[in-house]
Symmetry: C2
Subunit: 323 residues, 2 copies
């Protein structure tokens, strides 16, 4: 059976380890039969984080021995289950043998992959990516990340670095331009952190914006961006249009370079901005694409449980690196 | 045997069909045992072009029946050997069944692929790409093209469009900026045609340049660019530095997106500009690369016969699309 006709059979636990929450599911024959969510520790170190992971595993599959897949917010050394750095997790500034540690804590077989990779795998197998074996899953939130399915398999690359679309360059001159913040990478235009920096900078330069009114000194959450755009705020509208344009350029580059047939768009900010954002990206991608090669940009279908589902699917061989 | 330990065995004819010349080789166990070059017709249509191809085949393997691989300057429909368009060939404005036509003309089995793909395949198997199974071959000439080897195999993509690095976007705002020529694609900065347009534009704006002195009203060949840079011409130096920077940005994007371990740099302009150009690209790629993931940029090793060698290698299964 080809990957696109994939039927997940069997039982696995999937964990999506995020900076704020740790989400777990028990997946049986492709269905979520249990789920659990706990806050990820904000203090301490990797041991504290992995203890919470083990507790979530036990909550969704108590006493069971189903194998465990986990998506982590950082790169993973191919074939090793080791995670060299995870800046959004407390004290995770050194390499941690996640697979070995979790095997010891839970007594299960463990597979570790990047969170965006497993989110893309879930969309490919059970969500908005079904029916094509060549697709990009792109997630726009605090930053911008992506997973790449080529010929039905997740692309990891020899160093496990594949999919870092946030670090592709959409404005090459910015690297040396002292007038602009950032280096000209997609994330400098389309990630929520960078968008907030730009909005506050414009505000300080004397352009009033609802964004600062709504957020005050707190973080500009995705909800606030959606509200400000909805209300017709000029700064928000301008910056979001720029984000859509930069994202469309990066997607056109992906299509030209590896020839994918579909883009699945997810992530907190993209989901809040909704259909207008997605259709703007899709239209500009069509305009930019080489040889009329525009492709559909469809919304991610599995929501915030997609990462955990993908982590469970990743336990099977299909999602792994080519042998 | 893994692709990186590939030993080409057997006998095949390879043709590199270019806009100005048609190059042919007979490859036996990885060695070129015969070669032939003829001018590609500048007038007429696909029939005239394919007749010259058949003549070159007959010249390198007279009376033989070795299978034939051909690299063409245009996209190829996957699995069909059909070429929908080839703007650099006379009258080739409609789809041509190249594989079928050449099989009829030569009585041989025929495999058709894109010229840049087969050039990359040759470097991977027998040239500067040996020893890694994840690499990009990028060729800077009139335009900019690339081939991508992932996990030891050429990436074609479901529509046969993969490798079009010239159409990746390095300056996303240029699409809507009436002040700049081009759409912000790599080729608008790093291809020789675009570089010539920029040089003539600067010249018309009152900046003297050796480039126009040397070329007059004729085409600014790669040799002229190399001479002007060598002589310290300001316009040439500036434009070539900009080309190197745009190319480095595009390469950093490729490394971030698909994680290749090496870049092989070839093509008429890159070869003429030589080591200073290549090392500038390599240094800026290292500066731009995500997570310290810079990779070596090495010169193509097979010269202008690389395409024909790759076309012959493409006859084997290894270079084909995944089954």
């Amino acid at each position: 059976m080809t990957p696109s006709g994939f039927s997940p059979v069997g039982r696995a636990v999937g964990i999506d380890l995020g900076g704020t929450k740790t989400m777990g599911v028990l997946l049986v024959d492709g269905e979520v039969v249990a789920r659990c969510k706990k806050a990820t520790p904000r203090k301490g170190g990797p041991d504290d984080v992995l203890a919470v992971v083990a507790a979530v595993v036990d909550a969704v599959d108590p006493g069971g021995g189903a194998p465990l897949g986990i998506g982590v917010p950082g790169p993973v050394r191919p074939g090793s289950g080791r995670v060299p750095a995870a800046p959004n997790l407390p004290g995770w500034d050194h390499e941690v043998a996640v697979a070995d540690e979790l095997a010891r804590l839970t007594g299960r077989r463990v597979v570790v992959d990047n969170d965006v990779n497993v989110g893309t795998l879930a969309e490919h197998r059970l969500g908005a990516g079904r029916g094509t074996d060549d697709l990009l899953g792109v997630f726009v939130g605090t930053g911008v990340g992506a997973g790449l399915v080529l010929d039905g398999r997740l692309r990891h690359g020899p160093r496990g670095l594949a999919g870092e679309i946030g670090h592709t360059f959409v404005a090459f001159r910015d690297l040396r331009d002292p007038e602009v913040p950032g280096r000209g990478e997609l994330e400098d235009y389309a990630g929520r952190n960078a968008l907030e920096r730009r909005a506050r900078h414009l505000h300080e330069q004397g352009r009033p914006t609802l964004l600062v009114e709504l957020a005050g000194r707190k973080r500009m959450k995705s909800r606030i961006w959606a509200e400000a755009v909805e209300a017709g705020d000029e700064v928000a509208t301008e910056l979001v249009a720029d984000a859509a344009s930069a994202l469309a350029a990066a997607l056109a580059s992906v299509v030209a370079l590896v020839d994918v047939e579909r883009v699945v768009l997810g992530g907190g900010l993209a989901e809040r901005l909704g259909r207008p954002f997605r259709t703007a990206v899709e239209a500009e991608l069509a305009e930019r694409a080489f040889a009329g090669g525009g492709v559909p940009v469809v919304p991610a279908a599995l929501g915030d449980v997609g990462g955990a589902i993908g982590a469970a699917l990743r336990v099977g061989d299909e999602g792994g690196p080519r042998p």
